[in-house]
Amino acid sequence: MTQDITPKIQDQLNLSALILKKNHKQANLSSWSGFNLEDKKHVKQAERLLTILGIKSGLHLRNSLQHYESGLMVSQAFEKLAAEFRNDTTETFEAKYRALNNPQTQNTYKTVWKYRFSLKNQKLRGYEIAMYIFQMRLGLVLGFITTEEMILRLEEVNTTIKSTFSSWGEFHRNVCIGDEYVLGVTEQDVSTFPNMSTLWDHYQRLHIEHAEWFKNWNK
């Protein structure tokens, strides 16, 4: 049974708007999943995304949700490194940085170094919860989860996130940082991916198209 989307639920779903748009440009943000279930291409795209995320079933989905919710997915690793860096001086950090030869790890180090103090409390919770909701919406496409369960889960994470952040801007910034931390700098080469937009593009577009959604940080 699909339930109606109340303004409150819409507000909760919007926590994943940015990530959803990034992964599925045609997403309809005012629907439960964002995907058009009638459209085979849409379903295929959801299937593809789930495969990339390693989600093959409802159980996989819930395990993944559990990881995001507990911070096991991103925040813990981030915090571990951040805690280490907080004791470092610029020189000791640079020494560590230079000792690395993997560009991806270098990117991680750079990001963590940059936010080691400012995200001490929030860590990358914003990004994690955005992913959490995004994955639920994906799971809905293949019937791994029901809207009933989504409502229960949304409520929980919404409470967490609304008390962790103080505005949409702050939250979305955290999502962007998280995305960058996980995937590396997302400056796509437009020549090879002509249709790809960066997260930043989506961020701007989102705030233009749905300005009214992102004004009030409703606790």
Partner: protein
């Protein structure tokens, strides 16, 4: 009266030689012929007195009437003559042997004429009427007629005549029923038309070989789609014939050849002959098919067999069929014989009739590596009907093997593959790409499932791993398979994996298997049972990971409103005491973990409570949680929980949200905890006040002491182990921060550590305890940490601490405290390591 009798026969009757009784017979004949107005009749009528005389139809009389060879010189006249017999024959007045032989000569000679158009149908009708009456008569006339018919019919040199007679025999129902034979004593015996020694004697000069030879020649002859000699002979088939074939297998082989010809050229089945049965119930012709290498004709013939023939006698046939199929690299698969007929041998059948060899055959013919590409589909659909769509057996059917019904087992199937393929897994992998919709895969799944625990013996460990992945891949790639196939196979895959995945600890794999339940509703039960077995298994030691998993899945259970992780309530309601016991046995400080556990459980309890009005299911979840808490807290040792955890519990149980209130037992439990806390607090408080008091006392005495023994003035050489110096040391340890470090003093006692220990153990003023406490505090002082200027002092005190405390009943608690502190993160690494070292030394 027929003209021929009137003009030719009656006038020429020579009655002189006849006995009176014979004359009476003639008299009767004439009456029957309605020849009462003839001279002969009148003559007899007037001259004879028949009173007291019995009629006697002797051979002589018969010859008078029937034996007139001259009449046969003209065909038409001959026919008229013969048909004129009818009124007499109807009355049972039959010709003698000699006359009949003449008739047979006439018939033989004119067979051609009978088939011509000049011969009218009405006459033909009459003629055959005569023949019929003669053939069926219980007289000496019968046998020659029957012999004539059989001889002509079996003589296919004149196939037209043969055919003519066959058709008329069928039409007039000749050569059926019985035949009469005149015995040597002139009596007439009748015998049924059936192929036995008497029959052979009468019609084939007693020569079986001759009969069989002609019989086989005749079989395929005849017009298509019309009745033929076979139809006349069908009633003749006997167990004697069957026995003959059984004794002469070569003849049986010839017979099958004849039947094949008949089948191919006349398009006629010969069921009766093919299913000829001996008295013992053997089928000699089916037997003949069993003992030869097949050609297409044999396939056709076998296809017409009666499927009720005892399986034992069909077994070899099926095997020959399979051999025929793969002969010549499968050339026969393209033949019509297979497409139109042979296919039916498999399609209109059930697995329990077929030989076990079908399985390796199918594997060979349909496997992408060894199979015949164009035909694998045909066989897949054939065998899937036999093996997969038949509901009359469980996973695997019984099949035929060495003349017995044998239940196929999964182990057998796997060993079969292993026989021809050194690497079974590689063989599987080739199939894997086809996915679940390939029937071969479905069959394999059944086999694996059937093999059950034997899988662990059939496959070495590393192959079991591969096998698990093979099955999982099949299951997860099954989206394109039909719903029916999924519904049947996903539960089986889950079951097979349940047998394979028995190792503990690999919960990634366990989850992957558990998750199969989402692929098909039929698998839900199997998968949940499987997961339950792994997550809640009392036979295996608990680990922190499993406990953690339970409470992680509590989330799924709650969010899905009890639809997911269905074993969670069982864990909650049965495992509470076990968890408590697990933690009781842990030496390390588990308070942090327990704190998180309790918090998580309480947070879900709280959520359930707040939602239970909207959905009563939440009530059951919170009830289960309460059961867990009662069991768990009831068994857990008081000191395992951190203070803040107890506080949390206490506050929660007393808060408005909680409504544990309904649960008195739980309430009492938590109450007893808080009681424990209060008591410890009180004790600590007491200790603290005591300490304060002592401290003030001491500081006073210390002052004195300092005055008395100024640090700088302690004479190292004068120190000895006595109360004075020991107290001085203790004072210094307590006041080094302000009074400065008496390293020399400390060093002295470090070298005389054994003496100190002995002295303290004899002391009853509690100094030993104070030493322990004081030294413990120095350990935790960052100013004395390694790398600081006061490091030496710290190291010395550490050493003394270890010596004094080690082996005492407090050693354990100190060690645990040190460990906890060193891991708390409050201290720098060097100090934390040092503390850990101390803890290790204490435990050593």
């Amino acid at each position: 009266m027929s003209a021929i009798f009137k003009t030719h026969i009656i006038p020429n009757l020579k009655l002189d030689t006849l006995e009176t009784s014979e004359t009476k017979a003639i008299h009767q004949v004439l009456e029957l012929l309605e020849a009462t107005d003839t001279d002969a009749y009148k003559n007899i009528q007037s001259n004879s007195d028949f009173s007291g005389i019995t009629t006697n139809f002797t051979t002589q009389v018969a010859q008078h009437i029937y034996f007139h060879p001259k009449r046969y010189t003209d065909t038409t006249e001959g026919i008229t003559f013969v048909t004129a017999w009818l009124p007499l024959l109807n009355e049972g007045i039959y010709p003698d042997e000699k006359s009949v032989n003449k008739l047979v000569e006439f018939l033989t000679f004119n067979l051609g004429y009978f088939q011509s158009e000049a011969f009218s149908e009405a006459t033909e009708q009459q003629l055959f009427q005569v023949i019929k009456i003669l053939a069926k008569s219980p007289s000496e006339a019968a046998l020659p007629i029957a012999q004539f018919l059989i001889l002509r019919i079996f003589d296919i040199r004149d196939v037209l005549s043969s055919e003519y007679l066959i058709q008329n025999c069928l039409k007039h129902n000749l050569l059926s029923g019985t035949y009469a034979v005149k015995q040597d004593d002139d009596t007439i015996s009748t015998f049924p038309f059936t192929i036995d020694s008497n029959f052979i004697n009468c019609f084939f000069e007693g020569n079986w070989e001759l009969f069989i030879h002609k019989f086989h020649q005749l079989l395929p002859v005849g017009r298509v789609y019309e009745k033929s000699a076979y139809d006349i002979m069908t009633p003749w088939f006997s167990s004697d014939l069957a026995s003959y074939y059984e004794v002469n297998p070569n003849r049986a082989l010839n017979a099958t050849e004849a039947l094949k010809e008949r089948l191919i050229w006349a398009d006629a089945q010969s069921d009766a002959l093919l299913h000829l049965t001996t008295a013992e119930g053997n089928y000699p012709l089916i037997q003949a098919l069993a003992n030869k290498k097949w050609d297409s004709g044999d396939v056709l013939l076998f296809n017409t067999r009666d499927t009720n023939i005892p399986k034992r006698q069909q077994d070899a046939g099926y095997n020959n069929f399979l051999e025929w199929l793969i002969a010549d690299s499968g050339a026969n698969l393209n033949s019509e014989a297979f497409k139109d007929y042979g296919i039916k041998i498999l399609s209109e059948n059930t697995a329990n009739n077929l030989p076990i060899e079908c399985i390796p055959f199918w594997f060979q013919i349909a496997h992408p590596q060894t199979g015949f590409k164009n035909h694998s589909e045909t066989f897949n659909s054939l065998f899937s009907k036999l093996f997969l769509e038949d509901d009359s057996f469980g996973l695997l059917p019984t099949m035929r093997h060495k003349g017995e019904d044998v239940q196929i087992t999964g182990s057998f199937v796997i060993r079969t593959i292993a026989q021809s393929h050194s690497n079974v897994l590689l063989w599987f992998e080739r199939l894997q790409m086809d996915g679940l919709k390939n029937p071969l895969n479905q069959f394999l799944i059944r086999a694996l499932c059937d093999a059950g625990e034997a899988l662990l013996e059939l496959f070495p460990a590393e192959e079991q791993e591969k096998l698990q992945r093979f099955l999982l891949t099949l299951a997860y790639s099954s989206r394109d398979a039909s719903a029916v196939v999924r519904a049947k196979n996903i539960p089986l895959i889950a079951e097979a994996l349940g047998f394979l995945c028995v190792e503990t600890g690999n919960f990634t794999r366990v989850n992957e298997i558990w998750a199969l339940k989402d692929l098909d509703a039929n698998a839900i039960e199997v998968c949940n049972q499987f997961a339950r077995k792994h997550y809640i298994n009392e036979n295996r030691p608990l680990t922190l990971n499993i406990i953690q998993a339970w409470f992680n899945y509590l989330g799924d259970y709650y969010y899905s409103v009890t639809k997911e992780a269905v074993w969670v309530p069982e864990a909650l309601t049965t495992q509470g005491e076990r968890v408590a016991q697990y933690f009781n046995l842990q030496n390390e400080d588990v308070g942090f973990f327990l704190d998180r556990l309790v918090n998580r459980v309480l947070s879900f309890h709280k959520r359930c409570k707040s939602k239970e009005a909207s959905n009563p299911i939440f009530k059951t979840i919170s009830a289960d949680i309460e059961v867990f808490l009662i069991d768990f807290l009831g068994k857990l040792k008081n000191e395992k929980l951190h203070l803040n955890t107890i506080t949390h519990l206490y506050e929660y149980s007393n808060s408005d949200d909680s409504r544990f209130s309904s649960n008195d037992a739980l309430y009492d439990q938590i109450e007893s905890y808080s009681q424990f806390v209060l008591e410890t607090e009180a004790a600590e408080l007491e200790e603290a006040t005591e300490q304060d008091a002592e401290e003030t006392q001491e500081s006073e005495s210390a002052e004195e002491f300092v005055n008395a023994v100024p640090s700088s003035t302690i004479d190292i050489n004068a120190i000895e182990v006595n109360q004075h110096y020991i107290e001085a040391l203790l004072t210094n340890l307590e006041t080094y921060k302000t009074a400065g470090c008496e390293t020399e003093l400390l060093n002295f006692f470090n070298t005389h550590i054994e003496d100190l220990k002995t002295w303290l153990s004899n002391d009853d003023t509690g100094l030993e305890m104070r030493f322990g406490q004081t030294l413990y505090m120095t350990l935790l002082d960052v100013d004395l940490a390694p790398g600081t200027p006061l490091e030496t002092y710290g190291n010395l005190s550490k050493n003394i601490f270890v010596h004094l405390v080690k082996g005492s009943n407090l050693a354990n608690s100190y060690a645990m405290g040190l460990k906890a502190i060193s891991k708390s993160g409050a201290y720098s690494d060097p100090l934390a390591n040092a503390l850990l070292q101390v803890a290790d030394q204490l435990n050593a």
